[in-house]
Assembly symmetry: C2
Amino acid sequence: MSRFQVLPEAVPGNEATLMPCAACDVRDMAICSVLQGREVDRLAQIVSRIPLADGQSIFQEGDEADYVYNILEGAVRLFKLLPDGRRQITGFLYSSDFLGLALKENYAYSAEAVSGAVICRFPHGKLERLLDEFPRLEKRLLNEASNELIAAQDQMLLLGRKTAVERLATFLSALAQRQDALESGGTVNLPMTRTDIADYLGLTIETVSRTFTKLRKSGVIEVPDAHTVTLMDLAALRDLTEDE
Amino acid sequence: MSRFQVLPEAVPGNEATLMPCAACDVRDMAICSVLQGREVDRLAQIVSRIPLADGQSIFQEGDEADYVYNILEGAVRLFKLLPDGRRQITGFLYSSDFLGLALKENYAYSAEAVSGAVICRFPHGKLERLLDEFPRLEKRLLNEASNELIAAQDQMLLLGRKTAVERLATFLSALAQRQDALESGGTVNLPMTRTDIADYLGLTIETVSRTFTKLRKSGVIEVPDAHTVTLMDLAALRDLTEDE
DNA sequence: CGAGGGTTTGAATTAGATCAACTCTCGTGG
DNA sequence: CCACGAGAGTTGATCTAATTCAAACCCTCG
């Protein structure tokens, strides 16, 4: 993979490089995994690998939806803004996630790199044609959309009805799941800032900070640095989510 | 249609009746609209028309997802519960809406009739087979899922960042859209209770009631009865949503 | 060493929740 | 025909979880 790596100093220019999908890190996890043998060659011809600077915009709400993406590395945030600047982050994407499910002619939300993001870009129109050719790909997307919808409903429950402690516990618990930190003592990486977490959980940055402190003082987590959480008592954390 | 009408007194028994899709009220709006000519006959063989008593459960979160549905008449609510009873309504469905997009083996949420609901039931497995046969149907579902995801993100913005007035204005404005009440003076029907609205908007029933009063006193709406809203100033209502 | 993000902590404020009446239907039955 | 009760909605008084305002406290990096 490293020979396709675009060096950090190349980032500002934002140059895309062609990439043989066969060598891709997320080949077996992303939507591409439903393609077999030579089928991926078709994909390889239409994708570009794009490294992003932290904070860099991928697209903005309202832009023409010309491309869809796979996340190869790092983290990405999706969000919507109100005219006065209030922001709601509707999701974080990590490596192997697909970006571009919810779209019509234009993107319904904005997307930005959080940290260390490298993405794989597909022209939307060409992907549509591939969908007709490979029904398995379409099935996979429908399945992906179904998962997204379930996650969205969980998030609505969180935003509409959960307390600050329940929100943060749910967030950390889901991250732990995603990062296979499945037992106490495990460690979870938070690539995003407290402001991002606040805008994702429908809270203010101060409340997020205070809630971290509360969890820390109650012995459920430790926070060696702002972007690392050690799970001291995963069962207790799960209890705090109030999920069944 | 009337000859397929199951009379109200038959509701408690919940009996399903076969139904020729050709005569269906929502034939041209629901997902069925992508099927042509004789294709719908295949559908007709696997569907049942089921009238529901108000408040009746369609399925519960965790149930095996054996069926998917179209709403033929009336309104349906989808919701999730926390163990202590807090409820978040994740959406209302109305006639021609599809129910069953977000599912794996089991339903991820519960569904109940709100009022006057009549639904059309498909065995999940048989629909899956139809999907393979009619790619257009699958495309339509993917498109439907995309719309749902966009709506879900709007709702996250509402729940995470909007004030009570903004939430109610957004809700009423969306209902007006759906019911083609596109100008001031138009009237909107609210099939659900204040409790339902509260659980949808992430508020309490008292706050919903006070917010209705506020909108009424400011001359934006009139409320002839609890289930009817007259739009006195649709532009002002739209402004209050804070959407662009 | 000093500047500027990002984060934490404290004190004061407030939007919305909670608690508590009270009203308005509407259906039931004496 | 009217009394009654139950469910749904409204309104008022009080409370509180989270926000807002304010001030430090890191770090890292030039």
